[in-house]
Amino acid sequence: MSLPDAVVAEIDGVIAAVEHHKREAAVDVMYALQRHYGYLCDEAMHYASKALDMTTLELESLATFYDYLYRRPVGRYVIHVCDSVVCWMFHQDSIFDYLCRKLGVPPGGTTEDGMFTVLPAACIGNCHNAPSMLINGRFYDRLTAERIDAVLAELRQSAEEPVRCK
């Protein structure tokens, strides 16, 4: 499966922006591939390795270090539930449990329809709105069971079929 021109252009662009220090683009390139493939499959890692002149091991040692790069399939929406101490104080536990039960997945699991993955996240910097979660870059504040239901329903409405690595 070859990459669409737009993805190739994006990757070439981020590398060109840091031409003297290609390595700086490593995370951005992996982000771009992750957006395309849905996660960093081996194919994506090999592509990044060639594009960046870094070995797959070097990239793997970065991809597996960071928590916003996924080396296993994830859902269309990755739900980062903040589990740091302030959210915990506001019964983050029960919200986490509620999400897992609601979606029928264990922590870290992905729903069968490929829509949602539930992940615990380190403090997402939204403590004054605890409990809080982050879905694909957007904060959801002061969560309650009702609010979670509404958010999930809304996201289900707008989902497209994700691109997947074969």
Partner: protein, 785 residues
């Protein structure tokens, strides 16, 4: 030179020495896992914590991270430090499996030592142990991640020290995993060192796995015979079989490490094919019968044709003891030889290379790591002398400029400039970079008018070399004439065998070479030949072809070479592991390899050392071989010759008793013989044949080591420059038939711009030895399906 006090004892160390090393100089070994003298401090394991009571640093600190400073008062046994170190061991053991009984590292494990010495005997942590899945890292290193204590030694060695990036840490926190992107053989030719530096059983020596506990092995300091560098090794033998070779520290040569060729090519000694029994006319017989027969046959030749009709051939792989004994034997009998080299040119070249080292010009491998500019001339470091590549990397890490002028494609784990030039162009290139003044663009273009693609690189390199304060020229003996007079340049020849320097020192200046003897055999002047630890086919195809013209051929060896098969009388010799011996390396450094075990058929193959009852009275099998030098003496005795008592001190200026543990440089170097003429372009058309070593199984011993042979490339490859391939109408990847004499070899063509124009790079294997100096379309042909 800071002065400090450690455990109440004053010590003065060079500036920059970490406290852990300062303590070691007092004999105080502070516990450590991540610190390694070659890798420096990482501060990861926290095991080397000591208490700083006074001085610029105070409190509990890591002795590896703190450089020794004036006024420091350090206590290694301070209760706070002891308690902290105990906690560290407790933490490491919280996840380390209790599988010591089945762990290959058990008994020589640093973690085991520190756990026991730290008094951590009872587990109080109630949690479960972390587990990992392992990878297959190839034939040399066994992976057992559960045992990992995350000292990062492996990753630092592999990535930083060696420059390979296919193995390293992944993941974070308590999930950190050392491995590859996917299972597969490690790419580094130095990967075997991982087993040595890993402080636990995470990375262990795979070929030696389950063979023996280390302390049950017979162990002896040895010297690597797989190239000319003479790296220090430890040979480990168990049940009449060398089961493992480890790196031994020699700060003047290899430092702490060895290459994988040196580590994994030992199998020739215990190989099933190794001839261990004497033979007479191809029939196994006793040693005494064979010796008597050899004496009779050679005596017959002497009687019929005179002593000049007997010749002796030795080789660059024999020890100085053997080479000396052969010389004594030849002198006693008035025979020709011994010849050690294929032809006079080669012999003169090696002698000239050694002669150039006089006057303090020789550099050691360790000193190359400190050079600021290195030119490798006609040397492909990774293949001709693998550990040279590691030294070059250390130089490059410190900022040195490295250039490799060589017709063969070169890959090195460091930034370097490759100048792919045919042999006849190398002297010109050398002149550009070794002059006192930087060559200007015009000079570069004049010297290499046909290689404009190399001009920019040379223009960059020339000023760097001219400005270098401590440059080194690494050169092949054929280019000895290019050693610059400029005393700034240190010299480092790379020779053609583990004791090639010894052979050049022992050989008379007017000694015949193999080609001369071949001519004499062809002319009917020589009728008897003693071939000692030398394969005529690999050494001199002409000599091999002349062997049938002999009346008698006496072969002394421990390798099953074609010459062994052709022998009329065969006398089995001992290997370096069995007899010990002295080797003289490329920088004329004499080093002694101690015997590790007497010869014998390995118990594993003999099959009779198993469970009792067994026959204790029988003679141990395979114990016939004798040291080649001893066989020479017995043969002289058989023939009634009066062999002079000769020591290699007569040739090297250094006697056996003078050889220091780190080696001693020969004090008698050849008196500057006429350096051979530099390589010239072959007359007429054709491509110059350049022979290339592989990492494994192209050296004389490695070819007979099963494990090394298994790593050799499956197919032979001929490499050409794209222009030359086009000229021959051949394309990359094509199947070739190569005609060598009357034989045909199948090979694959690889086309690359990294090959010099006008050169055909072929494997350095005996089968290819018969190629002429230059070849053309009649030799390289497309294979017909």
């Amino acid at each position: 030179m800071p002065d400090l006090i450690i455990d109440g004892r004053p010590v003065r160390v060079p500036k920059g020495t970490p406290v852990i090393a300062a303590a070691e100089s007092l004999g105080i070994v502070i516990p450590r896992f991540c610190w390694h003298p070659a890798l420096g401090a990482a501060g990861a394991c926290r095991m080397c914590a000591v208490m700083f009571l006074d001085g610029p640093v105070k409190g509990l600190e890591m002795s590896c991270m703190v450089p020794a400073a004036d006024g420091m008062v350090v206590e290694t046994f301070h209760p706070e430090a002891v308690t902290f170190r105990r906690r560290v061991v407790e933490l490491l053991m919280a996840n380390h499996p209790h599988d010591c009984p089945v762990c290959d590292e058990g008994g020589h494990c640093l973690l085991q030592d520190e756990t026991i010495s730290g008094g951590h005997a009872l587990r109080r942590f109630p949690g479960r142990k972390r587990t990992y899945l392992d990878q297959d890292l190839g034939p040399f290193i066994q992976h057992e991640m559960n045992r990992c204590i995350h000292c990062y030694r492996c990753a630092r060695f592999y990535q930083e020290y060696c420059g390979y990036l296919d193995f390293g840490p992944m993941q974070n926190a308590n999930r950190v995993y050392f491995g590859r992107f996917a299972s597969g053989p490690l790419e580094s030719p130095f990967s075997g060192n991982l087993a040595d530096i890993c402080p636990t059983g995470t990375l262990t020596d795979k070929p030696g796995r389950y063979k023996s506990r280390r302390w049950d092995c017979q162990r002896a300091p040895s010297v690597c015979p797989h190239c000319s560098l003479g790296c220090a090794t430890v040979a480990l033998s168990r049940y009449r079989e060398v089961v493992r070779v480890e790196a031994r520290e020699n700060p003047a040569v290899n430092g702490h490490f060895i290459c994988d060729r040196g580590r994994y090519s030992f199998g020739y000694a215990a190989s099933a094919e190794r001839p261990r029994q004497a033979r007479a006319d191809g029939v196994p017989t006793s040693m005494s019968t064979a010796l008597a027969l050899a004496g009779t046959r050679l005596g017959g030749v002497v009687e019929a044709f005179g002593p000049e009709a007997v010749a002796v051939v030795g080789s660059a792989r024999s020890s100085l003891e053997t080479q000396t004994a052969l010389t004594a034997l030849a002198r006693a009998g008035g025979w020709r030889g011994p010849a050690f080299f294929a032809d006079r040119t080669e012999q003169q070249a090696v002698a000239a290379a050694l002669a150039a080292l006089a006057g303090g010009r020789a550099r050691s491998l360790a000193e190359i790591g400190q050079a600021d500019a290195v030119l490798c001339l006609g040397v492909s470091p990774l293949h001709d002398a693998p550990m040279l590549a590691l030294s070059l990397r250390q130089a490059a890490r410190a900022g040195a400029v490295v250039a490799v002028a060589d017709p063969r494609p070169a890959t090195l784990p460091l930034p370097f400039t490759h100048l792919p030039l045919a042999p006849d162009k190398l002297p010109g290139a050398a002149a550009l970079l070794t002059g006192a003044e930087a060559a200007d663009a015009a000079a570069i273009q004049r010297a290499l008018p046909l290689s404009p693609e190399l001009w920019p690189a040379l223009e960059r390199l020339a000023p760097a070399f001219a400005a270098a304060g401590n440059p080194v020229l690494v050169f092949a003996p054929a280019l000895a004439a290019q050693a610059p007079a400029d005393a700034r340049f240190g010299l480092f020849p790379v020779l053609c065998g583990p004791n090639a320097a010894g052979a050049a020192l022992v050989a008379d200046a007017d000694a015949p070479a193999c080609d001369d003897l071949a001519r004499a055999i062809e002319a009917g002047e020589v009728k008897g030949l003693v071939l000692a630890e030398a394969d005529a086919a690999a050494l001199s195809p002409r000599l091999a072809a002349a062997l049938p013209g002999l009346e008698t051929l006496v072969v002394l060896d421990h390798l099953p070479t074609p010459s062994f098969a052709a022998a009329k009388v065969f006398l089995p010799t001992q290997t370096l592991f069995e007899s010990g011996g002295t080797l003289c390396n490329n920088e004329a450094r004499l080093q002694y390899a101690a015997p590790v075990a007497p010869p014998g058929e390995p118990v594993s193959r003999d099959g009779r050392g198993g469970h009792p009852p067994r026959d204790y009275a029988r003679k141990l099998p395979g114990t016939d071989p004798l040291p080649a030098a001893a066989l020479c003496a017995v043969l002289a005795l058989e023939m009634g010759l009066d062999m002079p008592a000769l020591s290699f001190a007569a040739f090297t200026g250094v006697g056996p008793e003078d050889v220091a543990p780190e080696g001693t440089r020969a004090t008698r170097l050849p008196a500057a013989p006429t350096a051979p003429a530099p390589p010239s372009a072959p007359p007429g058309q054709g491509l110059v044949v350049v022979r290339d070593d592989a990492l494994f199984a192209t050296d004389a011993y490695g070819r007979y080591a099963p494990l090394a042979r298994a790593q050799a490339p499956a197919a032979s490859v001929v490499r050409l420059h794209p222009d030359d391939a086009a000229g021959l109408g051949l394309a990359d990847g094509e199947a070739l038939t190569v005609t060598v004499g009357d034989r045909r070899i199948e090979a694959t063509l690889a086309v690359s711009a990294a090959v010099a124009r006008g050169a055909a790079v072929v494997p350095r294997l005996p089968g290819w030895a018969g190629l002429p100096a230059a070849i053309g379309p009649e030799t390289l042909r497309r294979r017909q399906p």
